[in-house]
């Protein structure tokens, strides 16, 4: 009697395909999250570097206005096509020392956005990372 090779049954195949589809879909759905996390982490690191840079600049001179950085966090002279981040530096309410009613410390609000597709990167407050710097006032003395 000749033995007959049997193939996967339709049910088996359907079952396997459904399991595979479910699993793959589920896993593939996770993949963007992982990639997002990686991208977020990279961006966050770059943003941290940008904020450190801005903080250093604020420490040596009165800084205000919008500033732009590329994807690697390198400063740009203007908003070019390479601009990946925008920073807006603006004076905030002066900070008072404890027990002192007069605000004497400079407070600087540093807002950072990566929404460069928008005309105004800072339009959506939810997408803006904000840090407050507290610095000594800039005096009328000369330079060092």
């Amino acid at each position: 009697m000749i033995q007959r090779r049997t193939a996967f049954t339709l049910i088996e195949s359907l079952l396997a395909i459904s399991i595979a589809a479910t699993g793959l879909l589920t896993l593939l759905a996770l993949l963007p999250a992982g990639l997002d996390a990686s991208r977020d982490a990279a961006q966050r690191t770059v943003q941290t570097r940008i904020l450190a840079h801005v903080r250093e600049q604020c420490g040596v001179a009165a800084l205000a206005g919008d500033f732009y950085f590329d994807v690697m966090g390198r400063p740009l002279t203007s908003r070019t096509a390479d601009a990946a981040f925008a920073v807006r530096v603006a004076a905030a309410a002066a900070v008072a020392l404890p027990g002192d009613t007069s605000g004497t410390l400079r407070s600087i609000r540093v807002a950072l956005s990566d929404r460069m597709v928008n005309d105004d990167p800072f339009a959506d407050p939810q997408q803006v990372r904000v840090q407050t710097l507290v610095l000594a006032p800039v005096t009328n003395g000369g330079t060092r």
Partner: protein, 1257 residues
């Protein structure tokens, strides 16, 4: 039927799919995990950045505090402000009150700034720090470290183990909250930081829980961190780059072996550790002596007090001691005095290595262990600086006077000027230094030192700076409130300013300015080391006049020299009663002798070139109008002999280190040839002030035993330029003029010996020819048979015998001159009983002589020519003071003569040629080559010799004799005990408000060697008087003050050492030095205790000059001989700072029971050694911080923080070094001296963070 194989194949697809899915899942999860991990890492980086931002916050707060405290120079309503710093606090003072108007805390506290301060409460507030952990933290909390297997504590600020190892470091009381983990707490309040940057402190703290205002701290603006900090003042530490180890040196105060040794071995140009004003004179040994592997008592680092001080310069132990320290620091010198080539230390850590990257000090076996270095960090620094600005924030004026012509300036001059020039390197430099019109060039072109006006009229800058000082002294001084103008009055104030400017001309940097001593360039020594006084203005009501190195007139003597007698027919003198006395004199000649007095006498030897004119001599007559045949008013006597010029016998005349210099130049030509008597038309060769021929007495006059009438009259003695032409007198054509009136009085006839006239008329031609008497050259200008009548400076007149008050007046004419001069006590009057007339009523004195006597037919003892400086004290024969006869005690300030030289009303505080103080004259010695300005003049304390009441004060124009600027707390007149507040103008007018010592704050000498320690109007290495640590008052760290005091020596001459005896402080009777000492070292502990009295009362020192109000407590130096030699001064061993008045001045009214014989210059000497190295303002601060980033636990109330529940995410500790300095200006600053728009230079300061040092062992 299904086979088994069939069965196996069934489901394999699922298995394959599952395997495939599993693989995909692993891959996806890996991607996901990596992403999440990266996210965590980036979040951590962000946290680090946040805590780094927190780390910088304390420094930013302190910079803000420094800006607020130190930048404003005036309030909105124009009140001038002055600030003073100390560790932990800056106080700002105004002019309306002595109290601080604002206190700026430099440590985290619930209230950072306040107008008032309660020192007790300030410290008490910290007592519960260890129980209220949400409110306070210990900044000095140690961490455990492991070193070579040994567990050790490392402290971020101060290691308590340094107590007992480091001088000046002590725990004054128990620190609050001490336990095993916190052996030396330095608690500070937590300041919480909110998300929006606001800084808040808890409304209440209970243990670990802090509650904040719910209005401020919200869920939207939560707490994100907290900071605590305390700021050290780096000027309270010893600077490793500037300090070294002091080797005491000072100008000779007496004639002892030690003083001579020092004088003969003056500091060389590289021995800056011997120059008391230099930062290198501050000692590192208070910190290092017990480090470097040397235990206390080790011979490796012998203490200076066990080294024989008599051989301090060369003995091996001392050299090893000093070199041990010198080898460690960048500017030190090695034993062969080669400047060490080394870089400066950027941080204290670098002290561990030398420039060869080997352990520092390897050659001296000094091995500082890392643990030592950590311990030393609280006491040493590598960066400290203090502003050199006056109380109004303007540049201090350099004491180093330079030529106006920049091409005449030396390399040293240029370096100094670089330090005192505003806007240096720009097109608008403003030099803050007085300047000279011209240097000495030749005997015929002597420069402006020989001009009464050139340095004023030809140097515009001098006028500008002078006017600026007038303006500043007319303004209320911040911190004090008074004005100098209101204290002295305008005339005396201006006189002071003129005296200061004048003094700077001849005190320092004189080598190219003053005429040199006899030598190649000045063969005859014309005007050797002299300066004509500077005079400003001619209006008697306002003109002022310096001293120069120029004579004034202390006495004028009229010598009646009888030249012939009545003779018999045989031509022999008639002697009717055969008693050997001529019956009658018939002829005489009269001449005048001016006794000069140079208030600026002393080393280096001085021989002014001057000429004298005596007006109105024609009014002097004898009897009933017998004229004395004097020349007319154009006659001059040019007096330009250098007393240092070797005469024919090879010996110089000498006497020119004494105040009684240049006496002989009246009678001797510049080359030593005697002047020709009666020659009127040749001032250089002739002596005109004598009868042009014999004056014949009328019949009946001149009988032995009778008297003559000397009409007297007012004469004017004009001291003029040596080359002034013989023209008719004009107003103000002299340099210095005095008028005096000889009374119309009878004089006795002398007993003329027959033997003197037996061979004929007696010649007076030999009187100007030196004759040897013993080993000394003498001018026999007064001989047997002469009658001499003198007008002397009146000890009971307006000057009280203080010749400085005469010298300070360009013209002293009658009637103002009434009573300034009086007749000699032996002058006699109509009431003098016959037979009691003294033939020679004179006190002429030449500085060349002391113990061997002065002028007269027999040499008059010097004692008879002078009074006494101390009431009822009979000075030793070799120490007769330079005061007029008849004086019994100077009620105030006088100067000790250096070395063997006499005490008196002197003004010279030059530090040139100390060896010359041991000769009464000087061989041809030039001024030392100038290489170190600080060695010649380091502070304005040299002005302490200047009279401050020449024209009275603001309330009275009556002159104030024996009153000079006061730069010490122990003037002779002080009776107020040292431990009682309230020394006042009754003790000395200098104490009156504002105190004299504030003048010091207007002057400085930039430190330029071995590298520019002074730049941008700040000097590195100064030590802050305000050493108190706020608010940690239980800790005392006076280490830097100990270092500053270490090399200071206090000279103190007991009256017993000058009292009548063979030996005195001026040496033994044979001139040899005593084996004794009159110097004391400073007992730093006791002295600091004295300073603490003020600090403990909640006050601080506003200016460094206030050290002049503090007693430096002396201590005998081991190995020195204080007793013996006929005196045994009180040992200060058991005297505290509070007992110093009594130690110095003894019982009131008794001038002989203590150290009353110490002149004003010696009393001020230790302050001159100390003051230039002190400050009360600092430019460098170190912020010790502790910061934490915080996150509240879920469910916590936003306005509450609980250490036990909420989370400290990150903590950082460390320190920031902050510097303030005069920054580079984009536009030049205006000239502070002349511009109406000029502002305080404090306002032009910039601030920056020099370095950050994490604490993380």
């Amino acid at each position: 039927m299904r086979t088994r194989g069939h069965c196996r194949r069934n489901g394999s697809a699922i298995v394959i799919v599952l395997v495939f899915v599993a693989m995909i899942m692993v891959l996806v999860l890996a991607v996901l995990g990596t992403g999440m991990q990266s996210r965590k890492q980036s979040a951590a980086v962000a946290k680090i950045q946040e805590v780094e931002a927190l780390e910088r916050l304390p420094a930013q707060i302190i910079i803000t505090q420094l800006q607020r405290a130190t930048l404003p120079s005036t309030t909105a309503d124009g009140e001038h402000l002055l600030w003073a710093s100390q560790p932990g606090m800056i106080r700002v003072f105004g002019t309306n009150s002595r109290a601080a108007r604002m206190h700026y805390r430099l440590y985290s506290a619930p209230v950072m700034n306040s107008a008032t301060l309660d020192l007790t409460q300030e410290a008490a507030a910290l007592n519960p720090w260890n129980t209220q952990t949400a409110g306070y933290t210990d900044l000095n909390e140690p961490v455990a470290g492991n070193r070579d297997g040994t567990l050790e504590k490392r402290f971020p600020i101060a290691d308590p183990a340094a107590v007992g190892r480091v001088d000046g470091f002590a725990l004054r009381s128990a620190a609050p909250g001490v336990d095993t983990l916190h052996p030396l707490p330095m608690p500070a309040a937590w300041i919480y930081v909110l998300r929006d940057g606001r800084l808040v402190v808890p409304a209440s703290v209970s243990g670990s829980r802090a509650v904040f205002s719910a209005d401020t701290v919200t869920a939207d603006n939560p707490i994100v961190g907290r900071i605590a900090f305390w700021t050290d003042d780096e000027s309270c530490k010893l600077n490793l780059n500037t300090a070294s180890e002091a080797a005491a040196w000072d100008m000779p105060a007496a004639n002892t072996q030690v003083e001579r040794g020092h004088a003969m071995k003056a500091p060389s140009s590289v021995e800056r550790h011997r120059i008391s004003g230099h930062p290198a004179f501050t000692s590192l040994s208070p910190v290092l002596k017990n480090f470097g592997g040397a235990a206390a008592g080790s011979t490796q680092w012998p203490k200076p007090d066990v080294v024989n001080p008599l051989t301090a310069d060369s003995s091996t132990p001392w050299q090893r001691y000093v070199n041990g320290y010198q080898a460690l620091v960048p500017h030190g010198v090695s034993s062969d005095l080669i400047v060490r080539q080394d870089r400066h230390f950027a941080t204290v850590d670098e002290f561990y290595y030398n420039n060869q990257r080997q352990p520092n000090g390897g050659s001296t076996s000094f091995l500082m262990e890392p643990v030592d270095l950590n311990m030393a960090r609280f006491f040493v620094t590598t960066c400290s600086a203090a502003p050199e600005l006056n109380p109004f924030g303007g540049p201090k004026i350099s004491l180093w006077m330079v030529p106006q012509d920049a091409t005449q300036r030396s390399a040293v001059d240029r370096r100094v000027m670089a330090g005192c020039t505003l806007n240096g390197g720009t097109a608008q430099p403003y030099e803050f230094a007085f300047q000279r019109a011209a240097n000495w060039s030749s005997a015929t072109n002597p420069g402006s030192s020989q001009s009464i006006s050139d340095d004023w009229m030809l140097v515009k800058r001098n006028g500008q700076l002078y006017a600026w000082l007038q303006q500043l002294s007319s303004t209320a001084l911040p911190g004090w409130g008074g004005k100098f103008l209101d204290k002295y009055g305008a005339h005396s104030r201006d006189q002071l300013l003129t005296s200061m400017l004048d003094m700077l001309r001849w005190t320092a940097n004189t080598s190219a300015y003053l005429p040199p001593a006899p030598g190649t360039s000045n063969p005859l020594g014309l005007a050797e080391q002299s300066a004509v006084p500077l005079s400003i203005g001619i209006d008697p009501a306002s003109s002022t006049h310096g001293f120069g190195r120029f004579p004034t007139v202390s006495e004028v003597a009229v010598v009646f020299a009888f030249t012939d007698v009545e003779r018999g027919s045989d031509g022999k003198p008639l002697d009717t009663n055969s008693d050997g006395i001529c019956d009658r004199a018939t002829k005489l000649r009269v001449f005048l002798v001016v006794n000069t007095f140079v208030p600026a006498g002393g080393p280096p030897a001085v021989s002014p070139a001057w000429s004298v004119r005596i007006r109105r001599l024609q009014h002097l007559t004898l009897g009933q109008g017998i004229g004395l045949l004097f020349p007319g008013g154009t006659a001059r006597n040019r007096c330009s002999l250098s007393s240092s010029l070797p005469l024919s016998g090879g010996t110089a005349w000498g006497g020119n280190t004494s105040a009684y210099a240049c006496f002989a130049s009246q009678f001797t030509q510049p080359d030593g040839t005697p002047k020709q008597m009666g020659v009127v038309n040749d001032p250089a060769r002739g002596f005109p002030f004598m009868s042009s021929g014999d004056v014949s007495l009328q019949s009946g006059m001149g009988m032995a035993g009778s008297t003559l009438r000397f009409s007297g009259g007012a004469i004017v003695v004009d001291l003029m330029d040596a080359n002034s032409p013989m023209t008719s007198p004009k107003d103000h054509d002299s340099i210095h003029s005095v008028e005096m009136e000889f009374p119309d009085q009878i004089i006795p006839m002398p007993s003329l010996l027959v033997s003197d006239f037996a061979s004929g008329p007696r010649s007076i031609a030999n009187r100007f020819t030196p004759a040897m008497v013993g080993n000394e050259m003498r001018l026999p200008i007064i001989q047997r048979g002469d009658i001499v009548r003198s007008m002397v400076l009146n000890a009971n007149g307006p000057s009280n015998g203080d010749a400085r008050l005469v010298a300070a007046r360009r013209e002293l004419f009658l009637p103002e001159a009434t009573n300034w001069y009086c007749t000699h006590p032996d002058y006699g009057t109509a009431d003098t009983p016959a037979g009691q007339f003294k033939p020679q009523a004179q006190s002429l004195r030449d500085g060349a002589f002391m113990s061997t006597g002065q002028f007269g037919s027999s040499l008059q003892p010097t004692r008879s020519t002078a009074g006494t400086l101390l009431a009822n004290v009979r000075f030793a024969d070799n120490a007769i003071p330079a005061v007029p006869v008849g004086m019994n005690g100077a009620p105030g300030d006088w100067e000790s003569g250096m070395g063997v030289l006499e005490d008196g009303p002197l003004v010279n505080r030059s530090r040139l040629l100390p060896s010359a103080a041991f000769t009464r004259g000087s061989s041809a010695m030039n001024s030392t080559a100038t290489t170190e300005p600080l060695g010649e003049i380091s502070s304005a304390i040299c002005f302490g010799a200047l009279p401050s009441g020449v024209y009275g004060d603001s309330s009275s124009s009556t002159p104030r004799p024996w009153q000079t600027l006061l730069f010490c707390p122990n003037p002779a007149g002080r009776s107020t005990p040292a431990d009682q507040p309230g020394q006042s103008a009754t003790d000395h007018p200098g104490f009156g408000s504002p105190p004299d010592h504030l003048w010091l704050e207007f002057f400085w000498t930039p430190v330029t060697e071995p590298w520019p320690m002074s730049s941008d109007f700040a000097t590195e290495g100064k030590v802050n008087l305000n050493h108190q640590l706020m608010p940690f008052t239980w800790v005392q760290r006076a280490t830097a003050l100990h270092g500053a005091l270490k090399g200071v020596r206090i000279p103190a001459i007991p009256t017993a050492a000058l009292d009548d005896q063979g030996d005195s402080a001026k040496g033994r009777s044979d001139g040899s030095p005593l084996d004794a000492t009159f110097r004391y070292e400073v007992d730093a502990e006791k002295t600091v205790n004295g300073l603490n009295q003020r600090l403990d009362n909640g006050d601080v020192f506003r200016t460094a000059s206030e050290i002049c109000e503090q007693f430096l407590v002396p201590r005998r130096i081991t190995g020195h001989a204080y007793d013996g030699n006929g005196f045994s001064p009180a040992d200060p061993a058991n005297v505290q700072a509070g007992g110093m008045t009594t130690w110095w001045n003894g019982a009131a009214g008794n001038a002989a029971d203590a150290f009353e014989a110490t002149g004003d210059n010696l009393r001020e000497s230790p302050y001159a050694q100390l003051y230039p190295r002190l400050c009360t303002q600092s430019n460098v601060y170190c912020v010790h911080y502790r910061v934490q980033s915080l996150k509240q636990a879920r469910g916590s109330k936003p306005n509450e923080w609980d250490n036990t529940r909420d989370h400290v995410q990150t903590e950082r500790r460390g320190s920031h070094m902050i510097e303030r300095r005069l920054g580079h200006q984009s536009t030049p600053l205006p000239d502070s001296a002349t511009s109406s728009t000029a502002r305080s230079l404090h306002e032009a300061q910039t601030f920056g963070i020099l370095s950050q040092t994490p604490f993380g062992p």
